[in-house]
């Protein structure tokens, strides 16, 4: 099938405004005749639901937590980018566009990324108007910090809780519309399938998580804003409940899944301590503004540190290797995440890792504390230092943090065109759930920007075009497709509940995570991926034989919820491996050992792989079909990325 990205022609800077002009409008009096379903209330979903309701559409919004305010966006720490150039340091829309395209290792669309940079400035205005308490300078103006992959200071932040404050802003806008009766909010409700009629999305099937009722909802369009799938690795910085089910179910109903193997491993997370761990905790990239990353120069010193014969403070300056500053003098500690992560791994592979397990390097604040004083450091990063202390029982004001890369974000997701529409008409994907703007590596502070851009400033325009085209005729809830899809959902629940084996679902999840991390993590090889495919297939088959799921459907049943999600991860994992195997180049976060430069950097193969890989589902246990969307670069010149 050919994939039409619908990028408008013309100069970069005019694409979006021209496109907006060309989109059809729904007349104000007609808007109330349309129902729009928004699944997810994170930054993308809450902003979309509120903005669409403000325009006059009837919105039904869904989340699986007990309140829309608890979507995983709440956990974002460091900040949000915007090309405001308030610092007068040379920033511009074009520079943010360029940094993002380059940061993504030239695997994103120029048109999308430019639009993202363009609307970034409106996002900050909107959030401030809502009362989001961003950090300010003494003169009362907004403050900025720096993030990786850029040489300007364009990141807006609210201490280490930027996501929380942005989400509470979007949540407040959503609340206003709930109060007005324009949004009907369904909490503790999980979407389990999409209903399509004549190839168009017309509704969803949900399970009420407090009583198990399976419900049908109709809508003229369905927006999936359901977040990322990093938890396929079991251990990640995502929330325990984050999952791929909504996107995966949509995929099985025809929506293409793009670039599933593009996953972001974040360099600065608290290292794994044992098998009991249920998640990993991020230490924000903003810490690299003031923290210096280092490992001991020699294996001998590392060995002594691991055995606790000496402390980090006792390692002489000369015996420390500030490897990012050494290798990348112009970006230093602020190289993009993929580069920083690979270098940390290299140190560990080299025998120079620290901490009990040897799987860590240091992030050291001693210099910053000397320079700025402990109080100033605490004012910037206090909550992160506290979090670190709670988890590790070590005081980062007194000794350097130990950090190691962990799975954090998924650049892949449902394929969407410039209008954020999947290839299934009427089905849209916003925020981390789609694949669109970050290429093979997302720059820090760009996910919040993208989620809010999609929800506040893109979908309110593009959705109208589709709705105007299909017209306001009510969706027929008695169409057999609803009953049929509902039955499919029930059948699946019953087959999960029938599992009465000897191994818990959590154990399968952990096993899958081990496979993914080992073979589809920071370094991937042809051989390893082939092995992973076999292992996942075997694990999945075993799951459907030997897993154990207790309880019934018509009650609160967390075990059942988890089983459904893990079953989907077991399918997604295989597709990720297929995608990684297909892409015989390295780019951004996708590192194939077979394809690297002499200096060990990711080596792209633009002649053969400058495309988006969009996978088409063909039935259970059938190989998926690869569709390619060729990436045209009209405005930037593709080069080997360099942060030296």
């Amino acid at each position: 099938m050919s994939l039409e990205a619908k990028i408008p022609p013309g100069p970069l800077a005019e694409k979006w405004s021209k496109h907006k002009f060309n989109l059809k409008l729904v007349n104000p009096a007609n808007k109330r005749k349309y129902d729009v379903i928004v699944v997810g209330t994170g930054l993308a979903g809450a902003s979309a639901a509120a903005s669409l309701a403000e325009l006059g559409y009837n919105v039904k919004a869904f989340c699986f937590q007990d309140s829309p305010r608890r979507a995983h966006s709440i956990a974002a720490q460091g900040g949000i980018n915007a090309a405001k150039n308030y610092q007068n340091d040379g920033d511009s829309v074009y520079r943010l566009f360029y940094d993002t395209i380059k940061g993504g290792d030239y695997r994103a669309r120029e048109g999308n990324v430019y639009r993202l940079a363009e609307v970034s400035v409106n996002i900050i205005d909107q959030c401030v108007a809502q009362g989001v308490p961003f950090a300010r300078e003494y003169g009362g103006l907004l403050d900025n910090r720096s993030f990786g992959g850029s040489q300007v200071s364009r990141t807006f932040y609210a201490r280490g809780q930027t996501g929380q404050q942005l989400l509470l802003g979007a949540y407040s806008a959503l609340n206003r519309q709930i109060h007005k009766g324009k949004v009907k909010m369904y909490t503790r409700t999980e979407m389990l399938d999409v209903v399509t009629i004549d190839g168009h999305a017309k509704g969803i099937i949900t399970r009420n998580l407090t009583n198990g009722q399976i419900e049908t909802h109709t809508g003229h369009a369905v927006l999936l804003c359901t977040g990322g799938y990093g938890n396929v690795f079991y251990l990640s910085t995502n929330a325990a409940g984050s999952n791929v089910t909504a996107a995966w179910r949509a995929h099985k109903r025809g929506a293409f899944f793009a670039n599933p193997c593009y996953t972001q491993i974040h360099p600065t997370c608290i290292p794994v301590t044992g098998d009991h761990q249920s998640k990993l905790t991020l230490m924000s990239e903003s810490l690299r503004n003031d923290g210096r990353v280092w490992a001991p120069k020699t294996v001998e010193i590392a060995e002594k540190l691991r055995k606790k014969e000496i402390t980090a403070a006792q390692v002489k300056e000369d015996d420390r290797d500030y490897f990012l500053e050494r290798k990348y003098p112009s970006f230093g500690n602020l190289v993009p995440r993929d580069v920083a992560s690979r270098n940390a791994k290299e140190m560990v592979d080299d025998g120079r890792g620290v901490g009990g397990s040897g799987f860590a390097v240091f992030l050291d604040f001693a210099d910053a504390i000397n320079r700025l004083g402990q109080e100033a450091v605490a004012a910037k990063y206090g909550n992160l230092f506290d979090m670190y202390y709670q988890i590790t029982d070590e005081d980062p004001y007194k000794q350097p943090m130990r950090i190691y890369p962990a799975v954090h974000y998924t650049m892949g997701g449902l394929w969407v065109d410039y209008n954020l529409s999947t290839n299934v008409p009427g089905l849209y994907a916003l925020g981390e759930c789609n694949f669109s703007d970050h290429g093979a590596n997302r720059l820090g502070a760009s996910a919040l920007m993208q989620g809010l851009a999609d929800g506040y400033f893109v979908i309110p325009y593009t959705l109208g075009d589709y709705l105007a085209t299909i017209g306001p005729k009510p969706v027929d809830a008695s169409h057999p497709a609803f009953a049929k899809t509902k039955q499919d959902v029930l059948d699946r629940i019953n087959s999960l509940l029938a599992l009465n084996g000897t191994k818990t679902v959590n154990e399968y999840h952990r096993d899958l995570g081990h496979i993914m991390w080992e073979y589809c993590g920071m370094a991937r090889t042809e051989e390893g991926l082939a092995k992973a495919k076999e292992l996942i297939q075997a694990l999945r088959a075993d799951f459907w034989k030997n897993a154990k799921v207790v309880g019934a459907n018509d009650e609160v049943n967390a075990a059942l919820e988890k089983a459904g999600r893990v079953a989907d991860f077991l399918e997604l994992g295989e597709l990720m491996v297929d995608d990684a195997k297909m892409r015989k180049e390295s780019c951004g976060g996708h590192f194939r050992l077979e394809s690297q430069t002499e200096e060990g950097e990711a080596l792209r193969d633009d002649d053969n792989f400058a495309f988006v890989g969009a996978w088409e589902y063909k039935g259970d246990n059938q190989p998926e079909i690869l569709n390619k969307e060729i990436l045209d670069f009209e405005f930037v010149h593709l080069t080997q990325r360099s942060y030296k």
Partner: protein, 259 residues
């Protein structure tokens, strides 16, 4: 470590509950409290028992989903953290730990340790916002906000909506939670146009939800994982009084909505 757990089990809102005793064995002090419960649940599942139900999501102290009344204290024995941030090193080998849900009439139990906190959402829906639509707003830097004000508004805005303040209060008052939002908005210039109507709408909704009244015992502040201070309550009381006495205006009424 080996521990004895006394856990509140309750099938659903309509059933009565009771305390049930479980053993938690081979627990590592590095585990978080919720990871300890995960281990217990795994063993229950393998014995064909129903796992203990509790709310959680982010597991890093920010989403406000986790709760738990541990040994008589919301979010357990340590100050300024949530249950998901509590680690087993805060307990000793052989200890008996009592685990109950939040207790408040306005927070009915859903199952076991999970309660329904939707009353909090309804209070926010009553007025916890600035009435601006998407688009058409001024440039962010046109508004100068003194750093001290921005910082103080931020402190109030860090409330995670967990409900520990209500659980800690003998009257089950929601004043700390409500005042945090009211104060954030009242301190910022963006919040001024609706300052008086907001406080009235939110307090009215709070009363309607059946939360108790505040008698200034300060238990809420002591147990709040985000250290939201009692100052917020005095600020809100001032505004409420002001609004009632001097600035009575029609409170937000959007019922029927849809303009």
């Amino acid at each position: 470590m080996n521990l004895t757990l006394k856990v509140w089990r309750q099938k659903d809102a309509n059933s009565s509950g009771k305390m049930v005793t479980y053993k938690a064995e081979n627990i590592s002090p590095d585990m978080s409290f919720l990871e300890m419960l995960d281990v217990v649940n795994e063993s229950l599942i393998l014995k064909n028992d129903e796992p203990i139900h509790f709310d959680h999501d982010c597991r890093e102290g920010i989403c406000g989903m986790c709760s738990l009344y541990i040994n008589g204290r919301p979010h357990g024995p340590k100050r300024a953290i949530t249950t998901c941030q509590l680690h087993m090193r805060s307990f000793h080998d052989g200890e008996t730990i009592t685990i109950e849900p939040w207790r408040a009439a306005a927070f009915p139990v859903i199952k076991d340790l999970a309660v329904d906190r939707s009353a909090f959402d309804r209070i926010q829906q009553a007025g916890g916002y600035v009435s601006v639509n998407t688009g058409g707003v001024p440039d962010a830097n046109e508004l100068l906000i003194p750093k001290v004000i921005a910082d103080e508004a931020f402190n109030s805005a860090t409330c995670i909506g967990c409900g520990a303040c209500v659980a800690a209060c003998k009257n089950a008052s929601a004043m700390l939670f409500v005042s945090a939002k009211v104060s954030q908005m009242a301190m910022l210039p963006q919040g001024q146009p609706e300052r008086w109507s907001r406080v009235q709408s939110m307090v009215a909704q709070m009363d309607e939800e059946g939360f108790g009244s505040c008698t200034n015992t300060g238990a809420c502040e002591a147990e709040c994982p985000k250290e939201i201070s009692l100052t917020n309550i005095s600020r809100m009381n001032n505004d409420y009084l002001s609004a009632k006495l001097f600035r009575e205006e029609k409170v937000h009424d959007h019922s029927g909505g849809g303009e």
